[in-house]
Symmetry: C2
Subunit: 228 residues, 2 copies
């Protein structure tokens, strides 16, 4: 199948750009997160809450990947952090080359760089964009069968945020099944139950985020906020 | 950008296969639907209910595209219709070549062929798989901002099923905004509000499905069931 060869070449070029990104982040002492999820799982809301909680203690920049519109970017810009929007013009994921170009524009005088990928539980998982950690959000209304149906994504997750748990009382959703399947697919991933709109579990997430950062990155700016 | 050239070649090959599919469906008098949505929007449940409602009057076959697992295919197989599973092995959409291969296996002694695409609101929209109509499901928990954020998908929809409207009372979701944005993006698309689990709106959907079929396909088997 010729398509496989094409895909390998694309991924090879992607990895070259991802290496460049890793070097830039290291040089600048910036800790970077790649947020991935289906459309509507709550990426932007989780990011908004996270920035609100951390922005007084840390300098944060944000890159938004969207097919079209600057709706997410505008929401984050209102929080006063530096924002760069990548319009992928229909492409279903961010690739490292797009992110590398965005790094030329976004302020890297920051401690934490948050990248919001295109809403898609499939393709973004294949494209390394040079960040330190992958945060995958699964929301309760999507159903409890998603871990094994989208194993490529959950396999690369460092953290799975199970969002919208305030809806558990209205829906038939088995949290234990999700835990079990995540253990099978990716035993190293941490699962945190949250409701970004209602606040449930968010302090645990902020606190875990502190422990995620690889030493010595961010050592220069001290620990994550003690308020969480 | 070399990637664009690659993409064009892939799409060119895809369209050749899609033409072959169209010819086969025409020869066999089969009316085919392509169901697309985000993960967890309710594709399989909508299809289950639809098959239950129509299977006594129509011969139905089903092709399921999934990254991994045969969970959806097993659910539909329990309904007694002919099922073929395509495991895309990580690919984020069905392409026409995959569907063409599946047509060699699935029973085409049917009136209606339902194809469930990979859970993804982006990539499947780019790959014509030769079906007559595109059914796109948007679910209330995904949020009311999705039409303009994923315009490529909603632009090719013949019908948008707004699913899980039973959750409207718990969520901040503006149905009028969705209607307005769909009119902007794709004024020809029909929006039907449903709750596949609770039954709301489903009769309207079955009834509309009857009117979707292009004449003279299905003329030989009579109108869609009068019971809907």
């Amino acid at each position: 199948m010729k398509r496989v060869v094409v895909e390998e070449k694309i991924l090879e070029r992607n990895n070259e750009s991802a290496e460049k990104i890793r070097q830039i982040l290291k040089d600048k002492d910036v800790f970077a997160l790649n947020f991935m999820a289906s459309p509507g799982a709550g990426k932007t809301t989780v990011i908004e809450r996270t920035i609100e909680a951390l922005k007084d203690s840390y300098r944060i920049s944000y890159i938004d990947g969207d097919l079209d519109t600057d709706r997410d970017a505008s929401r984050i810009k209102n929080l006063g952090v530096d924002v760069v929007q990548i319009n992928t013009s229909g492409a279903c994921h961010l690739d490292a080359y797009m992110v590398l170009k965005a790094l030329e524009k976004v302020s890297l005088d920051c401690d934490l760089l948050i990248i919001e990928n295109v809403g898609n539980l499939v393709c973004p998982a294949t494209f390394d964009i040079g960040t330190h950690k992958n945060i995958v959000i699964l929301s309760v209304p999507e159903g409890d069968d998603k871990i094994k149906k989208y194993p490529v994504m959950f396999n690369i997750a460092d953290v799975v945020l199970l969002n919208k748990v305030d809806l558990l009382k209205f829906l038939n959703f088995d949290v234990d099944k999700v835990k079990r399947e995540l253990r099978d697919v990716n035993p190293k991933a941490k699962l945190i139950q949250i409701s970004a709109t209602e606040g449930y579990g968010m302090k645990m997430w902020y606190s875990f985020l502190e422990r995620l950062r690889p030493s010595p990155i961010l050592e220069t700016v001290g620990p994550f906020p003690q308020t969480v």
